[in-house]
Every structure is written in structure tokens, then in C-alpha cells.
């Protein structure tokens, strides 16, 4: 147990990904640190055996693996606070982790950092129907919130595909979306309050059970901060009344271009669907095989369009969408006739990612966003790239909001395929930025897109973003190595640039 495990000092597989330099002092004090942590979190809450820690070496993005320095699983907010205070004092890095379902490596451990798992925080603390809120611990899964309130006809709107397993704490950290975010918004539009533990151990509360808190919009700032600003220990979410009616349509097309054009026409006609999803042929086949969702198998692309609201409105909109689909060469249209059928239509889509495991031993799930009208161009270029790299790609696409999820299929047991998949993925993301889109839709930057950040942001942009981090975590202990390609020392960012012996704007008075 006591010696520093040999794997702890090298990033397991990937050589191109550079992580912050290991702190030799910390590595040398491993026994002492583990003993101290055990005093703070008793029982099985501190995991330090190599054989056990290996289980924690990656999240949903298995291309990157790193044995943690130590894993700590606290059970109370007080323990989280004590651990963070200790880390702050000791200069020990911290990587927060929910269910470990991140697809961008957001919870990739550090060889000299505590992996702080919050899965034991799985209780629902308060359900307030009058205010339409639920207050939950961060380890509660996204779906468990809906399960807790559905008996009374309520639900929590954001529904990432991994909702069965992903935690609300992770959803806040990544600002997760889901198939219904076109109409109901991302996580940031659906949370009202947070409890956060700062790296100093201080416990703070932001927002509450109401909209529009006092002061700066810190909720907005923290949502999507990927564990770089603090550790979330409580979340208050908005719960919504289930729509009176919801029906899903499955529309098959002879080409992805037709499906893409149909999406544009539907939105252009002013119809805001509850969800609008697209899958291409490989994704349709893999998903249908798992879920027996009844998808047409002889089409090149499939749209799932959900319409919700009062019954009369839904019926009218279905008719209008059918007309638009016909005008865009749809080859077949199915409309769900009851709730189980609607659920079945979605079941395939929600399982589409892992279902690719049926046709390929590994996949690399990308996440970029483009302006909707660029879809045909992007798909065509993606086909070229697929040929260039010799790797298959299945497309699952939040068509309504332009969020692409190409799944690059590769075999990690074949030397060189992972690297090819990574290069392929980077090309896709560059393409997204090139056509006027962005690097990420909902999976976060993590380590996966970290080095592509300069494709989108200038150095000045990135420096400004880092100043926000400095305000929360001046020593850069919280999840370093994620999001920012290079993490500057906060003192460095505070310096004034002296150029050619002149301070900038010499006429501005300085104090």
C-alpha cells in the first residue's frame, strides 16, 4: 500500500497529451498524505491500493488513462470541506468526479492529485412542488430526479443520453444538454441554486429556489466550469410539469442532406420541437439492434422529432411536420401512437453511443456544434476524412441545435488506430470551427479538446478566462490540466505587459 505505485508517474497510454508536471514533493510524501486523508474520511473512503485505484484510471473517455495518486470518497459536506482545506494547505491537486461518464476526460485523474469521487452523495434532500424545485446531492443521477417527481406529473428537463448514470453534479460541471434542450434549454437554464465548496474549504451557497439571484450571475459562471472553480455539494433544480401530450415522429430519408434540409425547414417554419435528433445508417442499425425501436433500416438518415404541448397543438404540428418532411423527400413517417411507443422511439437514440460497442470494439465520441445550414457540407467533408483515415464513423446529431456527435470507430488493440481516431476527431472539430461553429456542444472541453482551444480563442480570450479561475483557485489546484492548453500562474496573469519600455496606456492613472 505504502510506496508510490510505479504507474503513478506516467500517463498510461497517450504520449501527445501533456499534463501538468508532477509535484515530486507530493509524490515523496504519499504515505503521510494518505494517513492524513484517512483521518478525515474513515472506513473505505480512502483508496490507495494500485489494484483498486486502477478502476478509477479513466472516465467515459478510455483513450486517456492515468492512475490517480489517491482516491477519496467522502460522504458528508464537512468531509469535502476538510479534504479541500487539507489539499489547499498541502498544495495537493484535486480532480472532482461524479459517475465517471465524461466523454471529454473531465475526470481524468492526476498522478499527483486526489481523485475526489462524489458518488456517495446520492440523496434527494427536498422536493418543493409549490416552488417547483428539487434540491439534491450532486451524486444523484439525472434520471433519478425525474423518477423522484414523476409520480406527481413533474420532470427535470435536461436529458443527456447518459442520464441513467450521469450525476447532476457532473451535469452542472459540464453544462450538459440532451435531446430536449432545443426547447427546454441546457443545465444552465434549469438550475436555481448551488452549494459549493471552495478550495479553501469554505462552503458557499449561490442562488436558491428562485430565479434571478442578487449580484453577479455566479450560477451562470459555475455551470460548465468543469471542476476548475469549486466542488459542487448540492444542487437546486427546476422541475417542470410534464407536457399534456408528447408524441414522437420517426422520419426516414434517402440521404443525410435531405434530413438536414428538413430540420432547417421545420425550424424555419417556426416550429419548436421538444427534441429533434438525427442518426445516420450505422447508428440507426446499432441502436435498433439493442432497443428494437422499430427504426426503418433501409434509410440513410433518420430524424426523431418530438412535439409536445396541448393535444390540439401537437396534432396540428404533426400534420405540418409531415408536410415539410414530404417536401424534403422523406421516404417514410411513423408517429408514436402511445407513451410506450414514444419511449421506444427514444430508447434507441439514448443507447446509440454504447450500442456502437456492438459493431466496433472502441469508439471515440466527438462533440462539436455547427450552424444548422452547414450540415450537408460538414457531413460530406466527414465522409472524405473517414476515407482518408480509414476509420468508420457513425453520426448521432442533436439536429435541432446543431450539436454533432460523430462516433469514430476504431480498435485500440490495433497499433496506430487510436492516434488516427484522435487526428480524425481533431480535424472534425477544426471543421466545426471553420464553418462558424464551436468546439463543444455539451460534453465539455476536458482534456479531449483542450489543445484545440486556441483554434477558437485568442490568447487574450484564454487569459481572461483564466483570470476567473484565479479568482476562485489562485494556486491552480482544482482540476489542472483540463480546459486550458497552458495554465499560467495567476501571478503571471496579473503582471502588466511592458512593451518597448513603455507601459500600455500611459495616460491612465495608476494606483
Amino acid at each position: 500500500m505504502n510506496s508510490a505505485p510505479e504507474q503513478a508517474v506516467s500517463l498510461d497510454q497517450h504520449s501527445a497529451l501533456e499534463m501538468p508536471e508532477l509535484d515530486v514533493d507530493i509524490l515523496g510524501r504519499r504515505n503521510e498524505i494518505i494517513r492524513d486523508l484517512r483521518a478525515l474520511v474513515p472506513g473505505e473512503g480512502v483508496i490507495s491500493e494500485t489494484s483498486e485505484m486502477r478502476v478509477y484510471e479513466s472516465d467515459g473517455l478510455t483513450a486517456y488513462r492515468q492512475l490517480p495518486f489517491v482516491v477519496v470518497l467522502p460522504e458528508t459536506v464537512e468531509q469535502v470541506s476538510a479534504v479541500l482545506r487539507y489539499c489547499h494547505k498541502t498544495g495537493l491537486k484535486v480532480v472532482p468526479r461524479g459517475a465517471g461518464t465524461s466523454l471529454s476526460g473531465g475526470a481524468l485523474p492526476l498522478g499527483d492529485g486526489v481523485l475526489l469521487g462524489l458518488a456517495k452523495f446520492n440523496r434527494i434532500l427536498d422536493i418543493d412542488y409549490a416552488n417547483r424545485t428539487a434540491t439534491v446531492q450532486p451524486g444523484v443521477t439525472n434520471l433519478a430526479i425525474t423518477k423522484a417527481v414523476e409520480g406527481r406529473g413533474f420532470y427535470y428537463a435536461p436529458d443527456p443520453s447518459s442520464q441513467i448514470a450521469c450525476t447532476i453534479g457532473g451535469n452542472v460541471a459540464e453544462n450538459s444538454g440532451g435531446v430536449h434542450c432545443l426547447k427546454y434549454g441546457l443545465t444552465t437554464n434549469n438550475i436555481l441554486g448551488l452549494q459549493l465548496v471552495l478550495i479553501t474549504g469554505e462552503i458557499i451557497n449561490i442562488g436558491g429556489k428562485h430565479l434571478d439571484s442578487d449580484g453577479y450571475d455566479l450560477l451562470g459562471l459555475l455551470t460548465g466550469s468543469e471542476g476548475l472553480l469549486g466542488v459542487i455539494t448540492e444542487v437546486t433544480v427546476r422541475i417542470l410539469r410534464e407536457p399534456e401530450t408528447a408524441r414522437a415522429m420517426i422520419i426516414g430519408f434517402p440521404s443525410s442532406e435531405d434530413a438536414g434540409a428538413c430540420v432547417g425547414s421545420i425550424i424555419g417554419a417556426g416550429i419548436i420541437a421538444g427534441g429533434m435528433e438525427m442518426m445516420d445508417r450505422p447508428a440507426i442499425h446499432a441502436a435498433d439492434e439493442f432497443a428494437q425501436a422499430g427504426y426503418p433500416l433501409d434509410v440513410e438518415a433518420l430524424l426523431i422529432v418530438e412535439l409536445d404541448g396541448p393535444e390540439a397543438e401537437v396534432t396540428d404540428l404533426i400534420g405540418r411536420v409531415e408536410e415539410i418532411a414530404d417536401a424534403n423527400n422523406a421516404s417514410n413517417v411513423q408517429v408514436s401512437q402511445n407513451e410506450p411507443e414514444r419511449q421506444k422511439f427514444w430508447a434507441g437514440r439514448k443507447a446509440a453511443f454504447p450500442a456502437i460497442g456492438r459493431i466496433s470494439p472502441d469508439y471515440y465520441c466527438m462533440d462539436g456544434t455547427i450552424p444548422r445550414h452547414q450540415l450537408p457540407k460538414v457531413l460530406a467533408r466527414m465522409r472524405e476524412l473517414s476515407e482518408k483515415y480509414g476509420l468508420g464513423v457513425a453520426n448521432v446529431f442533436h439536429a435541432g441545435d446543431g450539436n454533432l456527435h460523430p462516433l469514430i470507430m476504431y480498435d485500440s488493440n490495433v497499433p496506430g488506430e487510436l492516434e488516427a481516431a484522435e487526428d480524425f476527431g481533431a480535424d472534425i472539430l477544426r471543421l466545426c470551427v471553420e464553418v462558424g461553429g464551436v468546439l463543444t456542444g455539451e460534453h465539455g472541453v476536458g482534456v479531449e479538446k483542450r489543445d484545440l482551444m486556441p483554434e477558437m480563442f485568442s490568447e487574450t480570450d484564454l487569459d481572461h478566462q483564466q483570470r476567473v479561475k484565479c479568482a476562485f483557485d489562485a494556486d491552480g489546484l482544482l482540476n489542472p490540466g483540463k480546459v486550458f492548453p497552458t495554465l499560467h500562474r495567476c501571478a503571471e496573469l496579473g503582471r502588466i505587459h511592458i512593451h518597448g519600455g513603455k507601459i500600455p496606456f500611459p495616460d491612465i492613472p495608476r494606483f
Partner: protein, 433 residues
């Protein structure tokens, strides 16, 4: 997922299968959420994804695993909830079965552990020994605290505490034998008479045979058939389990070749999962592979069979609210969902779903004896949900669940077949009188 087996390792057919299973896992983590031990403990090590990782490392490294690896694999209930959830169709059952076999082969457990597991593996599959054991347990029951005080016998105390305070007598329906169909014979089936259940609850076979006879089905309790092998299999004692399975395959193959069988029925769903796996277990066996696959094809849960046959109209109006508890071996192991519910509804019962129905009650074969702390936590969670429904009775398809839940609630617990038998002309279950 990437694996690192050498070509030499992959030449072993078991490793080769394990490799294929591991390669299907994409590490998405969906399984964690529906795993009972992860729900309780919140530790990846006690989740299917974590165990898959531990097993992968154990098999890749070869040799004896670390005590921690054994601890976390031991905590797995084999409820197979993860398999219902997994979109990538990872066959966790075959992986964990092989892992248990590997642990048994390579790892030396502490003496008390070895003793206890050996007793379970020898006692439970043998009805004669089990009956004697139950009598011994009955005698030892008052001394349970004494047993607990001695380290080597500590675990035996758990066994003594579980011993029934009254042992039922032998049933008139003890096999081998043939029970003719009433009226025109529509089908001929074998019923697995099994092991512990026929000692603890002979009324279940009685009810099963009665209802089948009334529905025009001839029932055979084949000569030489007994424990399905599931209990030792889940303890990693693969040699024992294969020997027991072979005995059954021989017994039923003889019946098939002789007068023919339309099905091999099981009313203990845990055993049903094992029977349906015989084909896989013997896939490499030149003598048994074909025969075993045929048995697996014929194997069916009693509710699957009755639902297909068509249930007679009920002869009574039971006017009861039934909470249906789906045994893991039925819902996850065999993916049988609708038949028992449909049959109960058709028989006139009002069927209610138990919240968190996918989570195990903690029985899981010998789990309640081997992992009492986790087992009890799951039992209490399940009973909380059941009592919230305030049903008249709980119905389930596995005696293990009945025994487990009965230690924590006063609500009567019966086997689904007892209710179906009663509603279609059989006697009222004693527990409801």
C-alpha cells in the same frame, strides 16, 4: 475496451471468451446506476464497470488476485441488473462466473471462509444432506450466539439463524415419477425438482404439478435429476457445478430420447438461468455440447410456459392486491417480464409494481449468508418499497426472495404459481389462510 492478453493466454478458450466480452465494454458507465451495490456504496469498485476492470486486470496479470479484488467480486450479487442496462450487450454473467472460477483456482481464502463456502457448496445441492443440515441448524439455532463467538464457526451462526423453526415433511410428489395430464394430454414436460427448495417448500412443486395436470400437461420428475449446479457455480466451484449439470443433462436427455419432452420447466428462477446457460457451459465439450444446448433450448420458466399454453379462466374472485416482486434471475437473468404479470392479472389479481423493481432484494443464492450486511440493507430497502404499496400479498418466482423478504416483513409472501394454482382450482396457499 482495450485488452492486453498475450497470444499464449488467448489460446485458452475461457480467456478467449473473456477477451471477447471485455472488448465489447465501452466503459460508458450506464451499468453503475442500476447496480444494487453501487447504489448502496457509491464506489466504482462495487459497480459492474469497476468489477469488469478488476476482472480484466486479474485475468491479464494471471495468477492469484489481490484480496481487494476478491472482496469486490465477492460483493457482486450476480443479479445481472447490469446486463439489462448494458447497451453494448456485455455478457457480464459469463465474465463474473469465469472470474469466480479463477479466484477459486488461484486464491487461498482464510480458513473460516473456506470452511463455510465448502459447507454451502456441499450441503445445499444435496437434498438429503440439506435436510440433515436443517435439522442440525434447528438444533444449533439456540446456540447461534455461541457459534458466533468462535472465529472459525462464526459464519455458521448465520446459517443456523436462517434455519426454519419448523421443517416441512416430505411431499407426496417427491420424484422420480410421472404425473399424468387430466383430460386430453396437450404437452409432456419435465419439472426440475432441484435441491433446497424441495426440502424447504415442497408445496411449490405440489402447486406446479397440480396446475399443469389440470391444464392437460403430463409432468415428469426425471430419474437422476437434481440440483442445477447454480449454487456451486456461483461459488466458483466449477468442477462441482459441471458434475451436477451433467447428471441433469443425462437424465433429461434420456427422457427426450424415450418419450419426448415439450419443455423442461423451472419454478425456481435462479435455476432457470443456469439451465438456460448449460449450452454455453458445455460449448467446448465434445460429448455434452449438443445435448446441453438442447436442454437449454427446452428450459423455460413455469410462467413462460403457462402464458404460452393459455391459462384457464379463474374459478374464484380472489379480490387481492398483489405486489409482484420480479426475481433478478427472472427479470435480468432470463429477461422474463410480462408472463408472470399477465398471468396474475388474468387470474383476477390486481397487480402492482414495486418501485425500484430492478434492484435485488439481497437474497441472491447464498449471498445473504456470505454478505449479510449488504444483503440486509437491500432487503430493508425492498421491504420499504413493498410496505409503501400496502399490498395483501407479495408474489415472486423464486423461493430465495421469499425466504429473504420473510425475515423482515409480516406481509405474506408466496410463489406466483401458488396464486395461479389457487385461482384456477387449487387450494388456497397456507400463508393466506
Amino acid at each position: 475496451m482495450q485488452t492486453r492478453f498475450s497470444i499464449h493466454q488467448l489460446a485458452d478458450p475461457d480467456i478467449s471468451v473473456a477477451n471477447d466480452i471485455l472488448r465489447k465494454c465501452v466503459h460508458c458507465g450506464f451499468c453503475t446506476a442500476t447496480c444494487p451495490t453501487y447504489v448502496l456504496l457509491g464506489d466504482e469498485l462495487d459497480s459492474p464497470r469497476g468489477r469488469i476492470y478488476l476482472i480484466k486486470n486479474m485475468l491479464e496479470d494471471g495468477g492469484a488476485p489481490s484480496p481487494d479484488t476478491v472482496k469486490h467480486v465477492d460483493r457482486c450479487l450476480s443479479c445481472l441488473s447490469c446486463m439489462s442496462t448494458c447497451p453494448a450487450s456485455v455478457n457480464y454473467m459469463h465474465l463474473v462466473d469465469y472470474a469466480r472460477d479463477h479466484i477459486e483456482e488461484t486464491y487461498r481464502r482464510p480458513l473460516s471462509d473456506r470452511l463455510f463456502r465448502a459447507i454451502l457448496a456441499k450441503l445445499l445441492p444435496n437434498p438429503r444432506l440439506f435436510r440433515l443440515g436443517m435439522i442440525a441448524g434447528f438444533v444449533a439455532k439456540p446456540f447461534a450466539s455461541l457459534l458466533e463467538a468462535i472465529p472459525v464457526t462464526r459464519r455458521l451462526a448465520a446459517l443456523a439463524r436462517l434455519a426454519p423453526s419448523r421443517l416441512p415433511g416430505r411431499s407426496a410428489n417427491e420424484g422420480p415419477g410421472t404425473f399424468p395430464a387430466m383430460g386430453v394430454r396437450r404437452k409432456r414436460v419435465a419439472l426440475l425438482s432441484g435441491c433446497a427448495q424441495r426440502v424447504l417448500a415442497p408445496e411449490l412443486h405440489d402447486a406446479t404439478i397440480r396446475i399443469l395436470q389440470r391444464h392437460g400437461v403430463e409432468v415428469v420428475l426425471a430419474k437422476g435429476e437434481g440440483c442445477c449446479g447454480g449454487l456451486p457455480h456461483h461459488l466458483g466451484k466449477t468442477g462441482d457445478s459441471f458434475a451436477l449439470a451433467k447428471r441433469n443433462i443425462d437424465a433429461w436427455s434420456h427422457e427426450i430420447d424415450d418419450q419426448g419432452l415439450d419443455a423442461i420447466l423451472v419454478n425456481a428462477s435462479g435455476c432457470g438461468t443456469t439451465l438456460k446457460d448449460y449450452g454455453f457451459m458445455f460449448r467446448e465439450d465434445p460429448v455434452y455440447s449438443v445435448k446441453a444446448a438442447r436442454i437449454s433450448e427446452l428450459a423455460a420458466d413455469i410462467t413462460e410456459f403457462l402464458n404460452q399454453l393459455g391459462l384457464d379462466d379463474p374459478t374464484i374472485d380472489p379480490d387481492l392486491d398483489v405486489a409482484y416482486h420480479s426475481a433478478c434471475s427472472l427479470q435480468h437473468g432470463q429477461q422474463v417480464h410480462e408472463p408472470p404479470r399477465d398471468l396474475l392479472s388474468k387470474a383476477g389479481f390486481r397487480v402492482h409494481e414495486i418501485p425500484e423493481g430492478h434492484l435485488c432484494c439481497g437474497s441472491a443464492g447464498t449471498y445473504n449468508m456470505l454478505q449479510p450486511r449488504l444483503s440486509k440493507a437491500l432487503r430493508n430497502r425492498k421491504i420499504g418499497h413493498i410496505e409503501g404499496l400496502d399490498p395483501d400479498v407479495v408474489a415472486t418466482g423464486n423461493l430465495g426472495c421469499i425466504t429473504q423478504l420473510a425475515t423482515g416483513t409480516k406481509i405474506p409472501l408466496v410463489h406466483t404459481i401458488e396464486l395461479l394454482d389457487w385461482a384456477t382450482g387449487g387450494p388456497k396457499p397456507a400463508k393466506l389462510s
